[in-house]
């Protein structure tokens, strides 16, 4: 999503780095370098992780630092052999699988192992060792067998974690629950900006490494490495498998197949090279069954209860429309998904042998029209948050499905024509919490209430939202804006433009329920969290309703 355009960023002027050491744009600060120094000599400094659970397999991940000089992005360090073990008990007395992996500088010393032949719906413990050093122990879980009756599935749902904007206490709170089957990360796992280009209002809580915007393979690797040193993120990765997709900031703001808003061709190299670098680093550093240049969109199933289709809405999309009144918006020549992914999505929805069809959807699909009652300041704030210009009553964000209405119409028609039930879009990107019906026809929805799916949007872990942009206290100036949006968009039942936090999704045969948890202070490493609201989608209804 657009958080701030780079023009706005550099015109914003002042920023402050929290803590004693101030950083400067374009220069390496002592504080920014500190995390790198702390890694030296720590073989498994970036933690352990698991992901992409299958009924008979899991993907294990770590990064090994075999010698002090083999820092991420350096290209230094010889190849080393890493041993991995997976056991049915935390004491590793019942080892279910083990093996070795050779890694080296060519893949930034990251390690992936994909043991198979495992038991479905089973908890496992895993660890790595290299050079006589053993990693922390991680816990993970395979998916239940296909078709197995399942009473419940519980997912953490997160997106938009900007390290410069605060602490990842949301991850810590999820890790502490101990009741999650999987964490769905819907993108913006990390941000490309340099120090001071995008932070918590005007405060850099934790400066990025490298201090400049990441544009090269070294940059992307170092930024991934920095995020992986976050203790809260490490804690969550260590206790539950992730299913991830990327949005734009894994490469650059408002990325599309041929470029990005935050990419200057020439001075920042070519987009193709930069995009390839971002994807290579992502493949190396994320616990995902993805190889650079391959296909990220993929599907998982959890018994007969739920499938999860993870979309890639950056790799194949046409360039965003130049304006929100552009006829390009509805052109069937433009695409958000690409033809192959669209066919894969629609076929998967039709052929799903699970009750719930969950779609990991990096950008909102429900149409959102701009209300006509906002003040100039409010419009400006929403424009900044959502990266749009506004005209009353027209779509407000052409980076979302609103900017690719031909593709959206295909999805909605497919859902309706084939009476596909229990489809729920799980969305991130926009640093705010939403619960929406997805209307069969927005024009007739107010009278018919006909909805073909539901959409539940989690808010940001730390990234700025409306109160931050307006510079007002949380739950003050945004409330009127939220009311205006809901009035202009009656299918939007819940909207919180201010809070940061995470969501927990409970899936049962009777309903899908999302609880939104909000942080007391994203800039505090000891932030508490509390449940703010809950909405559910009862089976067969395609509608969101509030819960007490």
């Amino acid at each position: 999503m657009t958080s701030l355009s780079r023009r706005e960023l550099f015109s914003a002027g002042v920023f402050v780095v929290a803590g004693a050491a101030a950083a400067t744009v374009g220069g390496e600060s002592a504080e920014a370098a500190a995390p790198q120094a702390a890694l030296l000599g720590t073989t498994f400094a970036h933690g352990v992780a698991s992901g992409d659970p299958l009924p008979d397999g899991i993907l294990l991940w770590t990064r090994v630092t075999p010698v002090k000089t083999a820092v991420p992005g350096s290209g230094l360090g010889a190849d080393v052999t890493v041993t991995w073990e997976l056991a049915e008990d935390s004491g590793f007395r019942r080892v279910a699988a083990k093996g070795t992996v050779v890694t080296g500088a060519a893949r930034d010393h990251t390690v992936k192992a994909a043991p198979g032949g495992l038991r479905a719906g089973t908890s496992y413990w895993y660890r790595f060792s290299s050079g006589g050093v053993t990693s922390p122990v991680g816990r993970t879980k395979t998916a239940p067998a296909a078709g197995k009756a399942l009473d419940r599935l519980r997912l953490g749902v997160v997106s938009c974690a900007n390290l410069q904007a605060g602490y990842f206490t949301a991850y810590r709170h999820l890790a502490d629950r101990g009741d999650l089957d999987v964490v769905l990360h819907l993108g913006d796992y990390l941000y490309e900006y340099g120090v001071g280009e995008y932070q918590a209002r005007d405060v850099v809580v934790r400066p990025h490494d490298p201090t400049t915007e990441m544009t090269t393979l070294e940059h992307y690797r170092r930024r991934h490495a920095q995020y992986k040193t976050d203790v809260d993120l490490q804690a969550l990765h260590a206790v539950v498998p992730f299913i991830v997709t990327w949005d734009d900031h894994e490469s650059a703001n408002d990325a599309w197949s041929g470029g990005a808003e935050n990419h200057t061709e020439g001075s920042e190299g070519t987009w193709n090279v930069r995009k390839a670098a971002s994807k290579q680093a992502y493949a190396e550093w994320m616990p995902v069954r993805y190889d650079a240049g391959g296909q990220l969109y993929r599907r998982f199933s959890f018994g007969d209860l739920a499938s999860v289709s993870m979309l890639d809405l950056r790799s194949y999309r046409s360039q965003q429309a130049s304006t929100i009144v552009s006829p390009q918006i509805s052109s069937p020549e433009r695409t958000l998904t690409g033809a192959a992914q669209m066919n894969w999505l629609l076929d998967g929805l039709t052929q799903a042998d699970t009750q719930w069809k969950l779609i990991g959807n990096p950008v909102m699909i429900a149409p959102v029209r701009f209300p006509s009652t906002l003040s100039t300041a409010e419009i400006g704030g929403v424009q900044t948050l959502l990266g749009s210009t506004t005209i009353d009553g027209v779509p407000y964000n052409v980076d979302q499905w609103d900017g690719y209405t031909a593709d959206r119409s295909r999805v909605i028609s497919h859902l309706r024509d084939n009476a596909i039930t229990d489809a729920v879009f799980l969305t991130g990107d926009i640093h705010s919490g939403w619960a929406c019906d997805v209307p069969a026809d927005p024009l007739t929805y107010p009278s018919t209430g006909t909805s073909v799916a539901a959409e539940l949007v989690c808010t940001s872990i730390t990234s700025d939202n409306l109160d931050d942009i307006l510079g007002v206290p949380p739950r003050s100036g945004s409330i009127a804006v939220e009311d205006a949006f809901k009035a202009a968009n009656p299918h939007v039942k819940y909207l919180d433009f201010d809070s940061h936090g995470f969501s927990v999704l409970d899936v049962t045969p009777a309903a899908v329920r999302m609880d939104w948890y909000v942080l007391s202070d994203r800039t505090s490493p000891t932030s508490t969290s509390s449940r703010s609201v809950s909405y559910q989608v009862a089976a067969g209804t395609h509608k969101v309703t509030a819960l007490a």
Partner: protein, 430 residues
């Protein structure tokens, strides 16, 4: 109900029961079949499970709400709900009722749609003859286990195709002109009368009001109100039945399988597809096919030369599929519909309908038969301790699952060749 008033004998046996001040219900039974003892002296058998399949014809799952249909809603909440349940192609009344009672798909039952082209008779007609159904149903198979069955079917063509298969039958009446169905009030009178006088182990009942309101409102303006009234009325009748089972001390032995045969979709007058019109500029092709129109589906039958069949059907398929309102064109085998479904099956999109053999043939806005009308309510409830309580299951229940579910519950062996459906035994305690 006032109880049995007279018994008349024929080749079949008839029982005439007075219900209310002026109405009567006439039930028939196979020769030699005994009627139950009069209700005043009837003694329920605690050990005997009765199963009642109640088909709320054309009801959409989202129409069962605490406000609109409180009795159905309560039954669903108290029992086992299958929210993913669906009707099967062609999503019409006759084939789905047949699937419920046979447990097999149309390519084995011979009943793919309501309306087909009968090649032998060279006529488009409803599949409403007993001989049209070529697979044994629960209604006669249970009798081989010395159990008794009953059919209380509100629609004339359902009574026609199921004929005398059940031990006890009710011929629907009085019939509403045009719709050829008996209002739910009379259907429920008959159901209660049959329980009272014959007390079969299985009764298969269809209630047609909701579906018929959906079809018959041609104005498009009063659909919502009329539909709501029909839902409320049908719900009231279902409530009557539950109350009767309770008062007759039968509730504790009762298993209610409640479902619809298909859903309903409405179209505006401009969203009409006519294959006849599509082929207007191809008269040579038009002459080679006959159309069996089924609301949301058209069955196309090649009647031209064998030599021209492949190329002709390919051309027709391409022309029909190109229409904006057409969702798909398939060969019947892909949908397990069998030869009776012809050579091509076209489904329309949501909000559309077919009208053939002419554009004026189908003026009604409410239709089904196409995929958007697949979702159906499907739940198992009742007072029997065998029914699990207050649970929802992800199991993909289908209309074809009714027979294997009841068969398993009542200890009936699977038929020759097996079922195509699945016994939804998770609904019951072990």
């Amino acid at each position: 109900m006032n109880g049995p008033a007279s018994i008349a004998a024929d080749r079949r046996q008839f029982l005439k029961i007075a219900v209310g001040a002026s109405a009567t219900v006439v039930l028939s039974a196979a020769p030699g079949t005994a009627w139950a003892k009069p209700p005043s002296i009837a003694v329920p058998s605690a050990a005997r499970t009765r199963v009642y399949v109640l088909v709320v014809d054309g009801c959409r799952p989202d129409e069962i709400t605490a406000q609109l249909t409180p009795r159905l809603h309560a039954l669903r909440r108290q029992g086992v709900n299958f929210p993913t349940a669906r009707s099967l192609p062609v999503m019409e009344t006759i084939p789905n009722h047949v699937m419920m009672m046979t447990g097999v798909r149309p390519d084995r039952s011979g009943v793919p749609a309501n309306s087909i082209y009968d090649r032998a008779e060279a006529v488009v007609r409803d599949l409403d003859r007993p001989s049209d159904l070529r697979f044994p149903t629960l209604l006669e198979r249970l009798q081989e286990k010395n159990l008794t069955t009953g059919s209380v079917l509100s629609k004339e063509y359902l009574f026609g195709i199921f004929g005398e298969r059940a031990t006890y039958r009710w011929e629907p009446g009085p019939l509403v002109p045009l719709t050829n169905h008996a209002p739910d009030r009379f259907t429920m009178d008959a159901l209660i009368a049959m329980v009272t006088t014959a007390d079969p182990d299985l009764i298969f009942a269809n209630f047609g009001d909701i579906d018929r309101v959906g079809h018959s409102d041609e104005t498009g303006t009063s659909i919502k109100a009329a539909r709501a009234a029909a839902l409320g009325s049908s719900d009231f009748q279902i409530g009557r039945f539950v109350d009767h089972l309770v008062s007759a001390a039968l509730w504790e032995n009762s298993v209610l399988v409640v479902l619809a045969d298909h859903s309903m979709d409405w179209s505006i007058p401009s969203n009409v597809i006519s294959v006849d019109l599509i082929l207007r500029d191809h008269p040579a092709l038009r002459e080679q096919i006959v159309i069996g129109q089924n609301g949301g589906a058209d069955l196309l039958y090649w009647v031209g030369s064998v030599a021209g069949r492949t190329a002709g059907l390919a051309e027709i398929r391409a022309l029909v599929a190109a229409h904006e309102g057409v969702l798909s064109v398939s060969v019947p085998a892909a949908l397990r519909l069998g030869a009776e479904a012809g050579d091509l099956v076209a489904f329309c999109r949501a909000g559309w309908r077919f009208s053939d053999p002419t554009i004026a043939s189908n003026p009604i806005p409410g239709n089904h038969g196409h995929p958007t009308t697949e979702p159906i309510p499907f739940f198992i409830s009742g007072g029997s301790p065998r029914v699990r309580r207050e649970i929802t299951l992800s199991d993909p229940a289908r209309t074809v699952d009714v027979a294997p579910t009841i068969g398993a519950l009542l200890g009936l062996p699977v038929p020759a060749g097996g079922y195509d459906g699945t016994a939804r035994s998770a609904a019951f305690t072990t």
